[in-house]
Amino acid sequence: MSDHVIGQRVPKYDAGPKASGLLQYADDFTLPGMLYGKVFRAKVPAAMLLDVRTERAKQLPGVHAVLTAKDVPNNNLRARFGQSTDVGSQFEGLYRVLAEKEVRYHGEPIALVAAESPELAEQACQLIEVDLQPLPGVFDPAQAMEPDSRQVGEKPNNIASHFKIRQGDVDHGFAQADVIVEGTYRVPYQDHAYLEPESGLAWCDDDGTINIRVSSQVIEHFREVAEILKLPHSKVRYLGTWIGGGFGGKEDITVESYLALLAWKTRKPVKLTYTRAESLLYHSKRHPFLMEYKTGATKDGKLVALQARLISDCGAYSALSPWVLLYATVNACGPYQIPNVKVDSYAVMTNTAITSAFRGFGAPQANFAYESQMQKLAQALGLDPLEFRQRNYLQTGEAFATGWIYPRAIPLTELAQKAWSGLGSRGLAEGGRKLGRGLAVGMGSYGRLTFLHDTSRSYVKLELDGSAIIRCGVPDVGGGQGHILCQIVAQELGISLDRIKLHITDSQLTPLAGTTTATRQLMMSGNATLKAANELKKRLLIKAGQLLNVPMENLIISENRVEVGSEPKEGVSLVEVINRLSAEGEELFVEAQFNAPFTDIPASEVLRGQTHPDFTFGAYAVEVEVDEQTGQVQINKIIAAFDVGKALNPAIVEGQIEGGCVQGVGYALFEDMAIDHGVIQTPSFAEYLLPTAVDVPDITVILVESGSGVGPYGAKGIGEPPMVMIAPALMNAIEDAVGVRIADLPVTAEKIRMALARKREGER
């Protein structure tokens, strides 16, 4: 079949409505009589919470509800983060709606207010009184691991989660090594900084159903909200909105549990939208990691041993920390063949901000460490960094350190070479600056952990006039998660895109498609939609074959017609086929389910076998200029090369790579979340600096299409992987330019200047 829609740069379904300003985001919805919600939060990082007094706040005219922990029917949930299989307590954590008896972090919600105006809600918060007995905070994860550390949470010690990888014998491996390099790496918090702050609007139906219109990546949280309210799951409905950016930050529950409680209590519509400061201070962050690496290689450039210890700061509640830690652990060795491996990883609780999902999900942290190590090893061996990596890439049919034999393409040699040669000939730096080049490779998974037994469902229906309707509960964060389903239906059923209507993200009226996380929607909902469309296509072709008296194998569907492949003029309109089917009582709709590859639940903390459906591989080559006086880094060139399997819409794929790359540039160079004794000191974009348009160059994107993905048409997921390997590429380039290596991100101008000063001191 010709790729008349798949593979084309067609505009997204939602692009027009967004360009016109007509598309409504969560905060754009209002209802008559609506109240405004506000969260009252702890202003200390650790304390006993002795009393909360709300009488004065409640007496303020125009205040309709002030709720504390005792008003919440079920305030302490075992958060299972959407998985439907029971995978054991190692992966579960406490989700506490409102603080009770204790405060574990600065900003922990203590009370909820609903009032007739935002100003009144704010005023009511100022009338809430709390009695606190401050406790010594635990802020350093390495210290928090010690047995005598004060216990932060509900676990028997502060280690929320622990994983291991064991392969071969590392002592034996290091004994064989000619060169061993060691390094300690620190990577920081990062805020998602989506432009749309967390927002939602909830109301109660006449039958008592709670409806929540919310900007959320996971509409399946309706189950948890129902459990908070002790309502049947069927009595809580999520109506997701088109999301103003997610990146994992709208994966955990944000405002919706508060909204549901306030709407349920007041029986009035309630809106709650965070300010930018609330968003920056109080929502989850990317995990800071401390990573100690020791890597050994022989003088012919073969890796023989890797030992690593990873410690992540999981904050005061574990949220998705166990999962993130598992991903980081699986990623700890990178896409390399290493015979002897020992990895130990820990997620440790502290009295700091909650850390959870963020694009990359543990992979960027580990990648910064292992790619820094690869660069140091290449230098120690006197080998070209590309050549050294090339001698060690995992090959198709070889096993990861977990023992999973990887069956698909790993075109890293091609990707790295294409990225590197894309830099062109080396120029000269201007204005006394120093020029440097760097490369890093890496991998990012797509699809949820295989032992979670992930599924997605999608519904496709043909209308009598030959148009089509898709219903799929997929939340769309802007990456084309909804749109691509239209492209698949248009391709398979020959219906033009402007005749397809898409319904997404309603937990009761669209088939549940699972979370828009883990770079999973193209693989999961794409395949579910393809399956539904193909079933309808079969029905159309059988009927058309009867009408045309031609075997169905000889027919193609294209542009609202069914045609004989060899004789395009001979055919029948789609409308006629549909109407014949309808008249004969055939069903013109299909709901299909796609199941991801399933594996068993890990039996212990030692990770063995397949953990993910697949990985996407990529490489970045960059050129920078560094000013030795100021430490300023200017990025001249970025070349990105990724195997995307198949680019179903190259413009969308490039957009993911360009956007993920720049978010990674922010992580590497700019985004410096200051935190002092558990209190974040950067509450605005004037302090927490994101890359702007002048901070980044044009990015050259090279798409390689191996066709080996598990998504529809052989596509791979591309949402998260571009975030993974840009930071070490930049660091390697900076070192190439000025000869200093910084082991803790972000690599700010100040750090470079100080490292250069130390270097000059040492040379003197």
């Binding site: 505009p11 967004k18 985001y25 905060d27 432009l195 930018r276 956007g659 974009f685 004037a686 348009a693």
Partner: protein, 191 residues
Amino acid sequence: MDPISKSMITIFVNDQPVQASVGASESLLDFLRQKALATEVKCGCGRGDCGTCAVLFDGRVVKSCLVLAAQANGKRVYTIRGLAGDSLMANLQDSFVQQGAIQCGFCTPGMLMAAYNLLRIKPTPTRSEIRQGISGNLCRCTGYQKIVDAIEAVAKKIVLVPDAPDSMDLPIPAPTDQEKAKAGYLLLGGG
């Protein structure tokens, strides 16, 4: 006005008079979203750092969160919806759609305003000048590249809406020589 009292003002939003009572500290952004129901104007930060709330006010593109509603009393404000009948804005909107410059779309209304402002003052900017021109607006999804592509395509007339309306007769003063020389992000509330 004392801080508590409210006063009645009228702002011409996309040529429609909108009358409402406002407090002394109410921003033009709040007025537009809550009183004029112009929800195409987005609030990304409310303090001038992100540019999602940019509108055309008194002949200038401004971050509406940094303008007091009372300052706009009796004046004209245009949002992207109000400018949809203008050929430059229509071409920009179409170009953003065609070039894949829109992911989550939350920055898009502000970006379109910044682009409109830039091309009005400097019709044929270089890519570097385009980047400068939108540097007061944050985007977290696209990495800016396809936004730059979209603006460049309009500047080079690569993308043109065939049935785009003629330029609107907007009450916008012609750019001054100083503005033309600067060709950057103008008076965006000093942000």
